[in-house]
């Protein structure tokens, strides 16, 4: 039976790690670990310490839920882009960075990692490492902010995050559209890109996933939003509507502010009774069509119930399984198809399943692990014993 601890301050967290380093106890954070280990639950370390509007920086603890953060920031006319979405409401800041969750608005606003300006990391020794700061530009030393807050990287536990803020847009204008098939959907997205219409976010959910979540709108679903000044957002929405008609899309909803249909998809990125694999596969936009075809060929031939969704404008495609556990053979076939289409795997799945990376970078990672966590107390997994 594994224990859990709920540190409520940084000092407590430091104490936990220091003690574990002394005794060699195993600690697990953000991950399911060995039964003899201690799980650190950061949900009580959840204050929003400061919202500095003049410098557009928010200082928060890892347990803060993105939905709550978004609400508090909105009161001051501000937002933290990765949290400014209906789809990540229940994720914590800590999870966002640890799991390497994609910023759903990355097409227009850039990767989540670039919204992290600094951090305070509790090292396995219990020492506190300060990285970055409140300045937009900082080239002092190495980029420890991103290095120590990288996905599935276990050199320490971050206790404070300095988040980059932006002002809220004047307005948001969104649409939800269904297309007859994947081809029409992709043509629509391509056309948007070529017309230099950059939505704040654009999400595709295929029919299989829609069915899994009992939300099947009988078509390839695309949810998108434009944000900015009134006239621009209107113009972009108008232009997108014309392009949509070109590919015989059906507009299910057209709104200003908050959409009803997107609100119904809050569960999409949350693993519950279905195995959802996000942030694993990356492809060039222009090669998605061939991969998507291959994917459905694999589902067809294997009989596995699985579907796709994601930021299809950027080649960031995710997989959802109807089952609670993924099918390894299926995953292998998908990886092959991804590679065949010139894409890559980020290595997240391998880390989740305890396989870990290989090659020279893996060796360097092991050396770094030994340097920062000599007793390897943090997130030591079943098959991942370091020599």
């Amino acid at each position: 039976m594994s224990q859990s601890v709920y540190p409520q301050s940084v000092e407590e967290l430091q104490h936990v790690l220091r003690t574990a380093s002394d005794t060699g106890s195993l600690l697990y954070v953000y991950r399911q670990g060995k039964p003899e280990g201690i799980t650190i639950d950061l949900s009580k370390l959840d204050e929003i310490l400061e919202i500095d509007a003049a410098n557009l920086v928010a200082t928060v603890r890892p347990g803060v839920k993105l939905g709550i953060l978004a609400g508090r920031l909105a009161e001051q006319g501000l937002r933290f882009l990765p949290a400014d979405t209906p789809f990540y409401q229940d994720k914590t800041v800590g999870q966002l960075f640890y799991e390497g969750c994609s910023n759903l608005s990355s097409l227009k606003y850039g990767s989540a990692k670039h919204f992290l300006m600094g951090s305070e990391v509790v090292l396995p020794t219990g020492e506190l490492l300060k990285t970055g700061g409140k300045t937009v530009k900082n080239v002092t030393g190495y980029d420890s902010t991103r290095f120590f807050n990288a996905p599935y990287t276990d050199f320490g536990i971050t206790a404070t995050f300095l988040l980059k803020l932006l002002p809220l847009p004047e307005t948001r204008k969104g649409m939800t559209i269904t297309f007859a098939g994947v081809e029409e959907m992709l043509s629509f997205v391509k056309d948007l890109k070529e017309s230099q219409l950059v939505p704040a976010y654009l999400l595709w959910v295929d029919r299989k996933v829609q069915a899994m979540f009992q939300n099947d709108l009988q078509g390839q679903l695309v949810m998108l939003e434009f944000d900015g000044v009134q006239e621009d957002a209107e113009e972009q929405q108008h232009k997108a509507t014309i392009i949509c008609k070109k590919y015989h899309g059906t507009i299910r909803e057209s709104y200003e502010g908050v959409g009803e249909i997107p609100a119904k998809w809050g569960d999409l990125y949350r693993s519950s009774d279905k195995y959802v694999l996000t942030d694993e596969y990356k492809l060039a936009f222009t090669r998605q069509a061939e991969f998507i075809k291959a994917f459905y060929a694999i589902t067809g031939s294997s009989g596995v119930q699985a579907g796709m969704f994601g930021q299809v404008s950027e080649g960031k495609l995710n997989i959802a399984f109807a089952a609670a556990q993924p099918d390894n053979a299926f995953i292998e076939a998908v990886v092959t198809a991804v590679k065949h289409s010139g894409g890559i795997s980020t290595g997240k799945y391998d880390r989740l399943t305890g396989k870990g990376p290989s090659g020279i970078l893996a060796e360097i990672e092991q050396r770094a692990k030994i340097a920062f966590d000599p007793k390897q107390i943090l997130n030591r997994l079943m098959l991942q014993e370091v020599q």
């Binding site: 410098n55 670039h114 409140k134 300045t135 530009k137 002092t140 890109k193 230099q196 006239e231 880390r351």
Partner: protein
């Protein structure tokens, strides 16, 4: 250095690309900082395989390697402090691909940044980072130092555009870091670690860069203030109240006078400060942004505001900003340029403290810079042959760093640490941070082969 190394280098790249005569080594002993250190040999490899072989050779003989692009850096990154091999990367100068459909460019390390920017513009897209050295510096150098530029406040810096790269590690392995799609991989972020690593962790040979859409319109404004404080306040007010300009540059009175003396374009020499502000986006968006900018400037005490929307008028306003360097060069031969950066809200205080420092040490200092992101450039105008004054300059610079850190800022917003700021590095990182930096270096470069004498190993 053993003669055997030189013989083997000649065999690896061809004798014409190996220089060991004093007359040539002198030409590679410097960058844009003030100290020179002779390399033992200068090598110009033509491809990644040659670079990997050179690194392995250097490892065998324990010879340090300092990578060099165009050596325009302001922190000493390309200077071979401990001699050894100066590895010149300019032969790797191809723009391999500009993929407009996928918004990704693939470029070799030795491509001159402006050449790359021009090619991207030709292709109808936009690569925003605009360091002042762009006409001369190489893209590899920009990445190794994480170059900035005036557009940082809205568009971010070099790091925000790096998706992935090909790197030669200190053991001679050639690896790909990050990816060519979105830079997001699981596990340690090696790609980001290499950005700004100043040649101490690996030799960057090829980079995958993100491209964005060009803004369709832009407008430039010049706001005049009778108080430097008002100008400084305007900077944070503007951003806090919702408009993020593309660039937001400040020039103090001394800077204005120097530039007017040099250019004679009718700058307001009695003004205590001017702000050069640019907004970009769609035609409608910039109208709103410009209105807001004007409102904030007026609210904060601007006495005059000029606007420009034609390319000629916009260029005229920027002429003054570009003329700062030559104008200052005319005043004093030695210009010590610093880039200590503070949070935006601290600019008024920083400016005040800088003035106090200049007075305390009896030095001529001009203050200008990228106020929008807190990246001021206090420049001390001096003469390197006046040893007594240079001592005061050193003390002033140290105090300047202390103040920046006190105000929650950083030693360097753009130029890097190199050897120039290495003595002060621990002031910012603290003991723990410094030990972590050293540990990272030790893990990746256990032999300490790459660019010794810089950063955490100075």
């Amino acid at each position: 250095m053993q003669q055997q190394v030189i013989i083997e280098l000649r065999r690896l790249v061809g004798a014409q690309y190996v220089m060991d005569q004093l007359e040539d080594r002198i030409c590679y002993s410097f960058d844009a900082t003030f100290r020179d250190f002779l390399p033992d040999v200068v090598v110009k490899p033509g491809c990644v395989a040659e670079i990997a072989a050179i690194v392995k050779l250097a490892g065998r003989y324990n010879v340090p390697i300092t990578a060099r692009g165009a050596a325009t850096g302001l922190s000493g990154g390309a200077v071979p402090v401990e001699g050894g091999i100066s590895l010149v990367l300019t032969r790797l100068n191809k723009i391999i691909d500009i993929d407009t459909a996928n918004r990704v460019a693939v470029v070799e390390t030795g491509v001159i940044t402006q050449d790359f920017v021009n090619a991207v513009t030709q292709a109808g897209l936009f690569y925003p980072p605009d360091p002042a050295s762009a006409k001369t510096s190489t893209i590899g150098g920009n990445i190794a130092e994480c170059a900035g530029g005036p557009r940082g406040v809205k568009y971010g810096i070099t790091r925000d555009y790096v998706l992935g790269m090909e790197v030669v590690l200190p053991d001679g392995s050639v690896v790909e870091l990050g990816n060519k799609f979105d830079s997001e991989m699981a596990g340690p972020d090696w790609g980001m670690l290499l950005v700004g690593s100043e040649g101490t962790l690996g030799i960057i040979t090829k980079i995958y860069l993100k491209l964005v859409d060009k803004p369709s319109a832009k407008q430039t404004l010049l706001a005049v203030f009778t108080s430097l404080d008002d100008a400084a306040r305007t900077v944070s007010e503007m951003i806090a109240s919702g408009t993020i300009p593309t660039t937001l540059e400040i020039m103090d009175n001394l800077t204005i006078r120097a530039v007017e003396d040099y250019l004679k374009v009718g700058l307001p020499v009695s003004a205590e400060a001017i702000l050069l502000i640019e907004v970009d986006g769609s035609a409608k968006a910039i109208v709103k942004q410009a209105e807001h900018v004007i409102k904030v400037c007026q609210q904060c005490g601007a006495t005059e505001i000029q606007t420009a929307s034609t390319p000629e008028d916009i260029d005229k306003l920027w002429q003054a900003r570009r003329a700062i360097s030559p104008a200052c060069g005319k005043l004093n031969p030695t210009k010590i340029s610093e880039d200590a950066t503070v949070p935006r809200s601290q600019i008024p205080t920083m400016v005040r403290r800088l003035r106090e420092i200049a007075q305390k040490y009896n030095l001529k200092m001009v203050i200008f810079g990228h106020a929008g992101d807190g990246n001021l450039h206090p420049n001390i105008l001096s003469n390197k042959h006046d040893h007594e004054e240079m001592e005061r300059v050193e003390q002033a610079v140290a105090e300047l760093f202390k103040v920046a850190l006190e105000l929650g800022g950083t030693l360097s917003g753009e130029h890097g640490i190199g050897y120039m700021k290495a003595p002060f590095l621990q002031w910012e990182t603290g003991e723990t941070g410094f030990a972590v930096g050293k540990a990272i270096k030790k893990v990746i470069d256990p032999q300490g082969l790459l660019n010794p004498g810089k950063l955490f190993n100075a």
